[in-house]
Symmetry: D2
């Protein structure tokens, strides 16, 4: 006997029919960006995929390109030229502007090099901030200059609650995410005023992506987060669904927000399972 | 020549097909609850409508009942018996539990009586807190006892940013909304653990409803909010759309949150139009 | 050889010399209010002590009265008459208004009766909210009417982070503390405008007071809080010191704030000791 | 007849007697850092003053050095070597570690060059982030390496509410302040665990300093802030007093906090004077 979950029966809803979007950061099928691309495609959107050249070599973005029938345009987000090229090519491809953008980009050289937060290299740090946070500014500024986002368009960047509270192993990425959220608010103001474009961040549960797993102590805090979230951790599929709502016309007045998508973690002080664990 | 807004062409999406819900607080067609009932119905949901007997007499809920083909069950939310009766009758009507609830209820006796915040009557205040905030607890506790909300169900209560920052004329309703948001978090924890039910509040722009307009200085602050919101104030139709996403299966991991739906007001410190006005 | 901690050598500083204040809620020597009364007295303040008649019988307030050379005026804070009597008598005693007030009051009938949060009695709840939160309003409203707080006076109420995040065993007190914090902001606005009086809440670490210890699962969460606070939990002595700064002239522009006094707990997502415990 | 404000009579309190500290950023007598140096000196502290060489040439730090009897050690906070030299020389001067540090540093090249936020130069931006935010990290990391802050020491950095809400003319400094606040939390965790050193930010009202006045539209938003603050804007003298409390032993358990010192601005949604202005 075949069990078909009800959910599968109902989706898709054509929530993004006729919409066009850019998805940054789909490395492999564990990526939130990968799942989001799949879900946006199912909901009727046309996509352009992009990632850093080095990430494209490591990952499997071409496989995704086939699945969602989208071109891939490489882009190093720390390069003004690359971002300009991406936006220009995307507009040529679509014959006009886009309706949504997913920014799922983060990289920490100090984490990779195993530097402790109290002993980071400031050159590496500048690179981390540029790639993980100022890249959102660069994408939005370039898009604004080229008028590349349609009226009431929607931009989402992925972030983590370490921007608000300290998770020691998250290291300098916490600061990068704080900066990213601030850029999102600041640019969100200007793009709302100029063209009703909204910009939000989703603060997602820790997720077992290839990127996420690289963080030291990751298993410890994903388990802790699971025990501390009344609904459990949100998966990348859940996040993809949430992105779809934010790209849709149903959330047009939501902007400049940091939206926790974390099974309740953010507003839970402690849970019974954690208290029980503390008593062991 | 006929102008058809693109939006109308696309909706509905059947986002709530097969779902059942209870809508509290639809007074008349200006009500957010009214618009939400309409949109939920369009998206495929089956509804039960309810309001306080006194509000039913003043308003036009029966007209809405016809439009969305739903029964109306009166309920004074300050009465345990009434709430029990509502939930019981609803379960009988649907032959089972519900998938979503909208709590759009607020009443301040001190505001009605023109009492200044620094001079409120504590008996009236107790009534305000009971009707505007503890009513959410009563509904959820009764639903939990009767197991009236289905797995992964979604509860939304409407609130206002006066719960975080002072708007002097909002009077004791600010305190009531703070209490409501706390109840939402607290009960959200327990209902998530017990049955994956999520509970959130939407902090909506000031809206020209019959209830909202009663607040002293309302026109002043709705205009201020409009000037202070990069996207302008969110309308009741926008709010109805946002409610639909929160009742859908696409937001299953969002719980215990207070979600600002306000065109960016909440994260805007000042805008150019306000600065210009200050210089007059 | 005798070791004298440097701290003892330096204090007091005469920070409150010439100031007059009312201290609510000193039950016994474990109470934060007790320690605060002692420290205010050491810093040169003249005090009036008050507590509920029933708490006075259980506790040892008269011992404190001797230590700080202050009269005790009984006051049931849920009674308008009692509060009026307290303020009137205090003004008679001092021959004028006061400069500061400490509100350290909380009581939950549902907790005492062992009711689970999802099954509270609403009559008890109304009493909890009235005593634990609206009592601050009653004190401030009465003081405003009698012009009992001097220009630039300072009011502090004690609260707990359960007002922001769920700690399941804290039960309805979480909602009461949210309400208290809202009252503090709301009244803080009006009293600032009227007479430059500032009103703040201190969100204190869990503290082993006679009241605190009554909460179910208290030992579990005080240990968790200790492990989750980079500086450890703040003690009642620490809190008394912090209150002194807020009553002093050095913090005159701080108002309508909720001030975390918790060794860093509030902005810590996880600590290494907690992660280690999770891995056991 | 001579009018002596009561305040002058009572201060100082010897709150910082025996303490040693470093004050960054005293440009001229309008500077918050200048006033804080004066107040710390009055309260019994021994100081080292520092500023960027270029700022020292523009300002009058030597005048301050005479007033508070402190050496001046130039330091470009974007240089590891300069920071190392500053900390080393300070320890030599004091014959040991310091008890407190004030970080009052901010500089935006894009603002100076008149670039709009949506059109910033990323090279300038990197410099802004490094000087205005990462400088705090550099100072703390260097101090930790040299064990230059005594047990229970206190570090305060000045910030602005643009880190939370958008003030359009504040430009990229908003993002820099968000980053600064995150660094403060992140490093605060590690320094608390290692040596009970606490790190906080004070989010100060807009202040008519030489630096502040450079921001475009400054007069507009200082007036707006004045009208939106129930107590009015906090002055630099008020801020100096508040810093003294945070450097004292009375606030030892406050860490990783962003403390609003703004006359209530941060928790005020609107005021009557602003509403009245909107109606003009």
């Amino acid at each position: 006997m075949l069990f078909l979950p009800l959910k599968k029966n109902k989706m898709p809803y054509n929530l993004l029919k006729g919409k066009k979007g850019i998805i940054f950061g789909a490395l492999d099928e564990k990526s939130i960006a990968w799942k989001t691309a799949i879900r946006c495609h199912e909901e009727g959107a046309d996509l352009v995929l992009t990632n850093a050249p080095v990430a494209m070599r490591m990952g499997e973005i071409n496989k995704l390109a086939t699945l969602v029938n989208a071109p891939v345009i490489p882009c190093d987000v720390s390069s003004n030229e690359d971002v300009l090229n991406l936006i220009t090519k995307t507009m040529e491809h679509f014959g006009g502007g886009v309706d949504f953008i997913l920014h799922s980009i983060g990289m920490s050289l100090n984490v990779r090099k195993g530097k402790h937060y109290t002993d980071i290299d400031y050159g590496f740090n500048a690179k981390t901030l540029d790639i993980s946070a100022m890249s959102l500014h660069r994408v939005l500024a370039t898009a604004m200059k080229l008028d590349a986002i349609n009226e009431w368009g929607s931009v989402v960047a992925l972030t983590y609650i370490a921007a608000q509270r300290v998770f020691p192993d998250y290291n300098e990425m916490a600061d990068a995410k704080s900066l990213l959220e601030s850029v999102s608010r600041s640019f969100g103001y200007h793009y709302a005023v100029k063209k009703h474009v909204r910009v939000n961040t989703i603060s997602q549960s820790p997720t077992r992506t290839t990127a996420g797993s690289g963080v030291k102590g990751f298993e410890g805090f994903i388990n802790y987060a699971e025990k501390m979230s009344p609904l459990g951790n949100a998966s990348s599929e859940d996040c993809a669904n949430y992105c779809v709502t934010l790209f849709s016309d149903l959330t047009k007045m939501v902007t400049m927000q940091n939206l926790f998508h974390d099974g309740g973690f953010s507003f839970t002080g402690v849970t019974l399972p954690v208290i029980e664990q503390m008593e062991k």
